[in-house]
């Protein structure tokens, strides 16, 4: 009888645990529900909808009309701004990524020194990053005004030459945006992440290298860079993705001008969707760009195996 009671208890205990586990799982889902619902409604749903809409002609006031691959054909063969906007975007990224990543690394190296007032310097370098981007761009458009801007005034007084047209010149419009981006990026999150990475490099490696006669450059090239290569890779990936998606600065400072000089791909998508009212085509452009970004990021990850060293990694 005791055995049967014991068997009964043994049989009923997993069910009680199962019931408790189910109840706890239910509570977990209840707490997760807001995020899951939000994700489905505001992220996953629109993504799937945009994929569907990319095969339609849709202006939001009339129902979408299926047109197959016409939008993609239009992008590749008919839209005079598709390829130029891609080229401009990659040009911008090619200018801003190496300079911002390199500049952030340089600043992080400087701030990693044990100097007096380091905390103050870190704050000062980080402040531009905290400035709202729209406000900073407005200030920069004044500073870079070709007629009465401070920058051209300084150039004239020092060098006695008229400064460039900056945002009003097709040659200088992108470099002007790069300048604005660097002002905020060099001392911003990139620098902070580099700083964290630098502080994770074991000091004994430098001591050993110094004992072996390695100079400053040797220590940097053979110790610092390899040890922070994961950080460098992370920052590079984020910087490239951010640069390729650049929108706000061009939208506020130049609205894509002059003469399309700053009509980047993201701005072109925005104009197509919200200014020209062609949502279907804009969705197609967005998906094409997504594919480009995925391919780019994949290539980056594949090539990273050659130069990124993770601590504890076995090769």
């Amino acid at each position: 009888m005791i055995g049967s009671v014991g068997a009964l208890r043994a049989a009923s205990t997993p069910r009680r645990r199962s019931t408790m586990a189910r109840r706890e799982a239910r509570y977990a889902y209840i707490f997760l529900a807001p995020w899951i619902i939000g994700f489905l409604v505001f992220v996953a749903g629109p993504i799937i909808a945009s994929l569907v809409l990319s095969f339609t002609k849709y202006n939001i006031t009339n129902p979408p009309v299926f047109i197959g691959l016409d939008n993609f054909h239009r992008a590749f063969r008919l839209d005079p701004q598709f390829w130029p906007s891609l080229v401009r975007t990659f040009t911008y990224a090619a200018l801003v990524v190496p300079t911002s990543v390199g500049g952030a690394l340089l600043v992080a190296l400087l701030l990693n020194q044990s100097l007096r007032f380091t905390a103050f310097y870190r704050t000062v370098f980080f402040l531009p990053h905290l400035t709202p981007i729209v406000a900073s761009i407005f200030v920069w458009t004044w500073l870079l005004n070709p007629s009465f801007g401070l920058v051209n005034e300084i150039i004239f007084r020092l060098l006695h030459v008229q400064g460039p047209g900056w945002f009003g010149d097709t040659t200088w419009a992108i470099p002007s945006l790069v300048l604005v981006a660097l002002w905020g990026a060099i001392g911003g999150n990139l620098m902070l992440i580099f700083l964290a990475g630098l502080q994770g490099v074991p000091k004994d490696l430098y001591e050993v290298a110094s004992l072996d006669g390695a100079g400053t450059w040797d220590r940097f090239w053979h110790i610092t860079l390899p040890m922070i290569s994961p950080t460098l890779f992370f920052n590079s990936v984020l910087a490239i993705i951010g640069a390729l998606q650049t929108f706000t600065a061009a939208f506020v400072a130049t609205n894509g001008g002059p003469a399309y000089a700053t009509t980047f791909y993201a701005l072109q998508i925005y104009n197509t969707a919200f200014v020209f009212g062609e949502m279907g085509y804009a969705c197609a452009l967005a998906w094409l760009f997504f594919i480009v970004l995925v391919v780019f990021t994949y290539v980056q990850f594949r090539t990273s195996r050659r130069w990124v060293y993770y601590a504890g990694e076995v090769r």
Partner: protein, 495 residues
């Protein structure tokens, strides 16, 4: 036995149950919608790409800072029908709209006007979105006249002909006050889809610093010559007015032109050219006459170097009052604006554009308008509110309050208060460009794409022509590029 000394504790399960319920309630509450207008991100761009001068519909709006608060919705009045009106943000202290609406509601106690305002740069898209989701109000502001076809094609607006024909008083005493060229821009397929709320002859009115120019010995066009001056006179004026400082840099620029879709066409028309054909289906930018007009403008930048360099957001309101700019081209709105900014620093005047080979004053009537939504639930009441917005009293008052260009009615431009406030417009512009004594008004409508692709065409045109102002392309080269690309846009169906 129960330990009554121990305080009662909430068990872990009860706590989780309670927290989960509160989260569910919060989620349900968050899913509920409101009817409030959105606030835009700061500095939303105008519909057209950056143009050279601040116009009533151009990149000046890009300087708008974060959205001003719209007036709180009033408490619904018992027995009154609510007429929802969409318009753009203005009058931040509600010193004009509030009292005017109050007067209207006192005269029409069965109607209550509810304002839903949006930043101008976002308004058009917002109205389309509201229409798509069935939330559009009763009265719809039309950002600029060329956007009327898009609102009509996308079933946002309803025609007003029935209301006009049934309202004999409106038809005889008010409708006739509107400039025919302006009303024509809201007439599509023989029906009228809106009315111009404001109007002026175009972004081609020349603001001259008369003190500076007179000192330099420049002859100012005046009433004695019927304000007639030629394009050669204009070039000479700009060259004389452009001054160089002791450091060799230009200290005063002769001219800042109005470029972009609203501006440059005024010069093209002076040469007999145009952007679009009257039916909006053909591009005319590469005609001989249009290229001649583009060349004249290009020479101001590249040959004579009298033009303020192309900038991202040009602003004559900074340069002209500070006398670093002798002349700028703009709309009627700047007359009140400059009166306030210039004050007593110097005298200025506004004159019609110089006359070119066409032999007559060039105009391109410009306006923004208002219409009635197709899904208005109270069309008769909405019509009453619409008439109020389009009335002489409202249009004049709004202009005198400094909120924009004058209303597009003759009885506004000839009102004594108008003449007193802006004599330059009343005496110089009105009798030459709007209603000359001989009755032959030179007012010509703003021609725009018939397929409702104004924004797309205007963006392409503005950007392509900027290569001319920057000296990167010749006028004929850019005109041919514009012809090809914009004609391809005109050949597409309605979006």
């Amino acid at each position: 036995m129960e330990n009554t000394l121990q305080p009662t504790q909430l068990s872990r399960r009860s706590w989780l149950r309670l927290a989960g319920s509160m989260a569910a309630v919060g989620l349900l509450a968050a899913c509920g919608g409101t009817n409030a207008a959105t606030t835009s991100p700061a500095a939303s761009a105008a519909t057209s790409a950056s143009s050279q001068a601040a116009t009533s519909s151009s990149a000046a709006v890009a300087a708008t800072s974060s959205a001003q608060p719209q007036p709180a919705n009033p408490t619904p009045k018992a027995g009154a029908v609510q007429v929802i009106m969409h318009s753009w943000l203005e009058d931040p202290n509600d010193t004009f709209w509030g009292p005017e609406i109050q007067k209207f509601e006192q005269a029409n106690p069965n109607i209550q006007i509810i304002r839903q305002w949006f930043p101008r740069g976002d308004m058009h898209t917002k109205e389309l979105t509201l229409s798509a989701t069935g939330q559009i109000g009763d009265l719809v502001r039309i950002n600029v006249a060329p956007l009327c076809p898009e609102l009509q094609a996308k079933n946002v607006l309803q025609p007003l002909d029935t209301f006009i024909n049934q309202d004999a008083t409106w038809k005889t005493s008010d409708h006739s006050q509107f400039w025919p060229a302006n009303v024509a821009m809201y007439t599509i397929q023989g029906k009228q889809w809106g009315y111009p709320m404001v109007g002026h002859p175009g972004c081609l009115q020349y603001y001259l610093n008369t003190d500076m120019l007179t000192k330099l010995g420049v002859k100012i066009p005046d009433a004695s010559s019927g304000f007639k001056w030629t394009i050669d006179d204009a070039v000479q004026m700009f060259k004389t007015a452009t001054q160089t400082g002791s450091d060799g840099r230009v200290s005063v620029y002769g001219i800042q032109s109005c470029l972009g879709g609203e501006g440059a066409v005024g010069v093209l028309r002076a040469f007999g050219g145009n952007y679009y054909s009257a039916d909006g289906k053909k591009m005319l930018i590469n005609s001989k006459e249009s290229i001649a007009g583009l060349t004249w403008l290009s020479d101001l930048f590249n040959k004579y170097k009298v033009e303020e360099p192309l900038q991202a957001n040009p602003d004559p309101t900074q340069l002209f009052p500070n006398q670093t700019l002798a002349v700028f081209v703009s709309t009627s709105f700047q007359a009140t604006n400059m009166t306030n900014l210039v004050g007593s620093k110097f005298k200025f005047t506004v004159v019609p554009p110089p006359i070119g080979p066409s032999g007559k004053f060039a105009t391109q009537v410009s306006s923004d308008g208002i219409g009635m939504s197709k899904s208005s639930k109270h069309p008769n009441e909405a019509w009453q509110a619409l008439k109020f917005i389009l009335s002489q009293q409202f249009g004049l008052g709004r202009f005198l309050a400094g909120l924009g260009s004058p209303g597009s009615r003759n009885d506004i431009w000839t009102a004594p208060e108008f003449k007193q406030k802006v004599p330059v417009l009343a005496n110089n512009i009105y009798p030459t460009l709007i209603s000359p004594p001989d009755g032959n008004s030179p007012l010509v409508p703003w021609y725009y794409p018939a397929n409702a692709r104004f924004n797309e065409a205007d963006t392409a045109m503005t950007n392509i022509l900027q290569d001319i102002w920057l000296g990167k392309k010749s006028p004929s080269e850019a005109a041919n590029t514009a012809q090809q690309q914009v004609q391809a846009i005109l050949d597409q169906p309605v979006p």
